[in-house]
Assembly symmetry: D3
Homo-oligomer: 316 residues x 6
């Protein structure tokens, strides 16, 4: 039994909780004993259901979704762990990063692994120079480690961009080894590392959630990333003009279809493989996200990204 | 009656012709008196039908489509002017520009009119600076004046890019005056001037015809142009970041729909108006081109760009 | 400070208001001090927010959306002008036209300008005869001046049809002057004047709002308008059969695409230009409408007509 | 064994033929013994293969496709009946109707049956009056009996419109009897009789083949037919306005989908049933036409109307 | 006037009702006299509106949608018959079949008629053997008689599968007689009888409503039915391999289009006709269902299955 | 220098060739010295250009495409190796398998590797039993080793089905190891092994080329394979019903989209991953095939399967 600051992932039945959380959802509901306030609270480590049983209506005016609140509560088990809230009020000061969902993987380790890809897989001197000039840029590194890979669809958490990019690099690396005669391995891996670079300018933290920036909406990450890449290439004397175009092509076309926002279709086999590996990572993670919403049901609700209902019955 | 070098637009019935022309089409046909060679010849001023009646088969091996040939012929009237060829052989040396189709408008005058738009319509100092930095760049000017606006669809001739851009500028200017409360005139006109800038790298002369470059196919002119624009903006200290994004957005989105190669849809009213004015110029010109192929028929063949057959019967 | 009948566009902070308004929206909301009634009221000159703070629930049963109400209120400033309602009850009698949104432009002047197009731009005697036979028909004139151009998408107000048609005529006129060799100016302008004629039977006033008629839904304004046009043409002896078909074709095809309700695609260049000018007027106005909903936000909500979110940030 | 004028359907092996035929296809082919001319000849009763073995090239200049020719030939069996041509020359005079493909059913009988539908199935006096006013109009009757139902897709022969319309009437009649509570039988049958009325102006005989008229292309038969119908209704005093709209709606919407050229979707159950019965008649006949092209193959070539290959293997 | 067990179809104004019903919809509403509970109750014979005026909120916790309740009420006329509920409580025991919507036609008679099709229409011994082996299988018979034809779209009631299948058989039979040269009647009728066989495993009763089974969602009834059919065919020695494939093809392709869930397009004329007859039955019934929701309105709400609003105004 | 039987892959400049080949393409062309016969010949190891210079026209009647011919020729270098044919005649007898394109990989080794997957990756006893019951069935094994994976798109050679399936198994195996918490490895690998099983009945050898069977066209390999699988499962007592459905679902849905012939969308994450791995193998191979057609060009012709032109310029 603990009392005081505790992370959501560590809360257990019977704990007395005295912590700050972000308000993710808020709604008034009607129970047998009258109105109660139903909350979903969040911090970097997860989300938890919570209830306010007394004065629910008045309490509901004290804070809004996306605010951070000070909470005193006891953890009870009611079809899973739930906070029974005694006191709740808007918090004065806090570090927003503490309340954003965060990758379950170690960001520093992922970064090391990602950066090591350059020395392990790339032998071409110019390509190596380019990749270091980008990923050793401290501003890029800082943003790249913190950015999510999407707002809601998949990898929508701090470190999500890095986690997703690393997955795509590994898939591309495997495919390059499987088809050595057909694929230019170094080009494909460099493309995989760079494909979502523009996302570091597409998303920004707003309060305790992520938002798409104006630039992100007006230009889109494929073009933003292509532009960043071009600028870095222009600063490297002697970089092959044709490789420059092929890399930009991969970044631009990685959404695979015009109607999915690629200004050009993949026209090289490496660009096509990058598109499909990106899709595997995104779809796999989206299935995970949707299946988590199923709880004890066998079927999910309609998912507008996958355009289908998902069967979760085979996991039990 | 003339003899010797003559331009296609000047050829009249009875002329003796002794000139160089590009071979645009070549085919062997069977007539009542045996095989003859059917040619379409071209120079900067137009195209003309021609026939070789003797030794057609042997003569046909002497040159290919896209070659330039020395021709001696007499102009006869056979359902329109046609060259009756006496002698024809592959030319040794020539200036390719003499054989590419060329705008019927005066390129220098169009350029003056285009450049004058900046002083006449743009009062914002930074925007003016940007436009001069681009269109006073001699390399850009040279390419911009020579580039076609497309390979085959519309304005597919030297000076076509300038001619088309000027049309779009005029349409946007009129619309800005019509809706002064709704449209940011200077933003719209600047966007119109810049929208097809990337085409100067998308097309290149190959022999006596135009080709799309590798870069053009792999990146597409909206992104190429956006990239050029970004580079020029970055060199102007104090240029508004938000205007920079809005201009890039217009260049990127001017194809109007994702499935037409815009990586983002037009999200500002100026971007949407630019898209529609561009469409008016392109469609109008495509109708002209298709109707010219009708000759004496009321209906064109199926046109895969317009996705319809065109009625030309109302022009007679 | 005024008291008594006042138009919405004239209401200022502090005014005592004693007027009739239409109820455009009605909802019960929960505030810190309990339930209140949130209204949007309208008249021909605009819309205004209003609140009933006392007995909100009972008051809410006294009238419905689309009713006209007698209101006593004071205008206060609460993030913009708002009516604080003291008394409100269903009105007994009123003229529906007083409560329908109305064009901000002078309808009589627009009509003069529209009618003058015939003498200014049309020299063909038969075409002139046709246009006068239609627009000098008093029943048509009355309906044409009052009809909206749509229910919700654009120009959804009294006089909207006239306002929109005039815009399209001006655009077509400019384009005809720009491309004199390619376009039949008189045909295009006549088509522009006639293109939405069928809308006078497609919409009808129902209470204090517009509705689509059964005929409008079952036949659609392109066919209704084509039918009206055909009837007028048949009454003019000697009217050219081919011009008759070309005019009908423009009216029928002005939605541009089969999936947008055109039974045939535009097959003449004039029909295509009419379609695009119509689109410019409609899209421009839709952007205006959507941007007005943004208030202080940079981005609109998803708009199902434009199929995108709109950026309004460049207007500030 | 006969000699002289003979219809294609009557030609048998060994016959000496001395008749006029239309030239449907013409091509020079290369056989073991040199070039020969391969023809497909046609008259109102069918088509037949024919060969010219001597002087094939010279003979080929004597006539073109769509000409009518005088033929002297002997009928031989070579994988089916084929004409071995001795003499062939362009015919001077002939009645085009003798050479157009014609329904295998008796047109006069079909017309009686069609006209009898009015007395048998329609009891509503106004509807009866309308149908008689249309189908007792001698100009309409003449055209309706001769028109094909399409150029190439289905029922592309003289009498085809009548044959197809009768099929649709029978299907609609059956469906009305099957669902008496759901369907307004008289409305549905009247709609079925009228649905393709506009085709009498959409197609015209040109030489010895059918062509789509300019009006047909520019307006389309649903609108042309709706217009004819409207005109007839307007001439009948007291005709119900709502029935008038419902009938027009059925004619306009009978293509079922906007992308198939219906300006509005079927919005009544009768309009929807008409669309589907029309589809059954058209598809059934298209399958027949495609399967006939299979000869001894089990599978047809790709059919662009059905958008599939058709299996004919179950007919043997 | 009756008291006690009564079926919904028999309830009349003034009846005292003491019966079990299923709860189809439940909502709390606000009236002039405070909150009341609005219910829609159902049994096998229909649905009826009901109200609880006292203690509405507390009563609302006593049961949920899809429960069966014991009801004491009086039937009043309030814009149609409505139950004024005195007492209501969750029922202890009941037979779910009593509360599922049921075909208005006699299931035993439909089954006799359906089974008689085999002897009346099928002369081929093998085909007859196959159909008897399927429809004389008691497990299949029991399921086939009880299954609905869909969850919500059409024929969504006990006996609905049989009712729909019989309709399709009758349509196919009529079409076979209409086109005897084009259609293989026995193949088409057998296909019609079998086309929805898989639905007996696609739907299941869950509480007092229908649900799609996991197998139904994961495999779909065309494939399930094809599989059942294959198994039965394999058990009949000497069954023609080609007929086996043609029958499976009809079952698989009866949705007509790939995007509607057919793994292959109909490639035989019989498969195409089956698809269209199935569509007629489904669309007709969907129009009926949608029109019933219109009550006194002329137009239905948007229907997502028909993708349109439906006009019901011609039924009054 | 060799003379006599030689495989195409072994032919070198100067070789005298005396072998049998299949005729893949045949056309008469016109050269400076008159007509010549241009052939593409093939055997199991590849294809080669060939020419007949003398009596080309007569020789062309001696055989057709898809025949096997006896050839005497000398290999010359003319922009690559080419056969200069001295004598050529239709062959009397041959083994068709000698002339079908064949995988460049060793089929026996691939089979061992494929079969070993069962013991290496599958621990579930029932699943193992199922896979052995299928792949130890000698008829299946024989067909599976010989079948192509497609007619023209990808892996269109003997052993192609095995080669492609093995690729998909390896990709799925890698992905299972990458995402152990999200994916049921054994289910995914079993699905990968089984996904194209139906192709053994979809394709057949016809002469010296592959054809789709009637059954293949009418049912499609996803359903055929699902049916085979079901039959094998039914023969294994105690096989889990839910696993049976999940496996069938993977086979049915592996085309990923309804419009690509999947009767159901992938609704489990394993089915989705299988679809994407299948796509990687197919697309990679299609790019290879298309790039081979480029020879010395940088860009391929339009490819209707990839719906794009492919850039091959980065391979040189």
């Amino acid at each position: 039994m603990t009392n005081s600051k505790i992370l959501i992932k560590d809360i257990q039945q019977g704990d007395f909780v005295n912590s700050k959380f972000a308000v993710v959802e808020k709604s008034l509901s009607l129970g047998k004993n009258g109105k109660y306030l139903r909350l979903i609270l969040g911090d970097a480590t997860g989300r938890i259901e919570a209830r306010v049983w007394n004065d629910a209506e008045q309490v509901s005016f004290l804070f809004n979704v996306n605010d951070v609140v000070d909470v005193e509560a006891v953890a009870v088990d009611y079809n899973g762990i739930q906070l029974n809230i005694k006191r709740i009020s808007k918090a004065d000061s806090y570090n927003p990063l503490d309340f954003l969902p965060t990758s379950s993987k170690d960001i520093a380790k992922m970064w090391d692994s990602f950066r090591k890809t350059i020395s392990d897989e790339i032998s071409d001197i110019m390509l190596k120079k380019l990749l270091y000039s980008i990923f050793d840029d401290r501003i890029i590194e800082q943003k790249f480690k913190k950015s999510p890979a999407a707002l809601t669809v998949h990898h929508a958490w701090i470190g999500g961009l890095l986690e997703h990019t690393l997955e795509v690099v590994h898939l591309c690396s495997f495919i390059s080894r499987t088809y050595p005669e057909s694929l230019n391995k170094e080009l494909l891996i460099a493309g995989a590392m760079l494909h979502d670079l523009g996302k570091i300018s597409e998303y920004a933290v707003s309060g305790v959630s992520f938002q798409q920036t104006d630039t992100g909406k007006l230009l889109g990450h494929p073009v933003i990333g292509c532009s960043m890449l071009k600028q870095k290439i222009d600063s490297i004397q002697g970089f092959s003009a044709s490789t420059a175009v092929l890399l930009q092509h991969m970044v631009l076309s990685h959404h695979g279809k015009l109607e999915w926002g690629a200004p050009v279709k993949p026209q090289t086999v490496e660009a096509e493989m990058l598109f499909l590996c990106d899709l595997i990572s995104a779809r796999k993670t989206r299935f995970d996200v949707v299946k988590e919403t199923c709880e004890k049901e066998s079927w999910s609700a309609w998912d507008r990204f996958l355009e289908r209902r998902v069967f979760a019955g085979n996991n039990r």
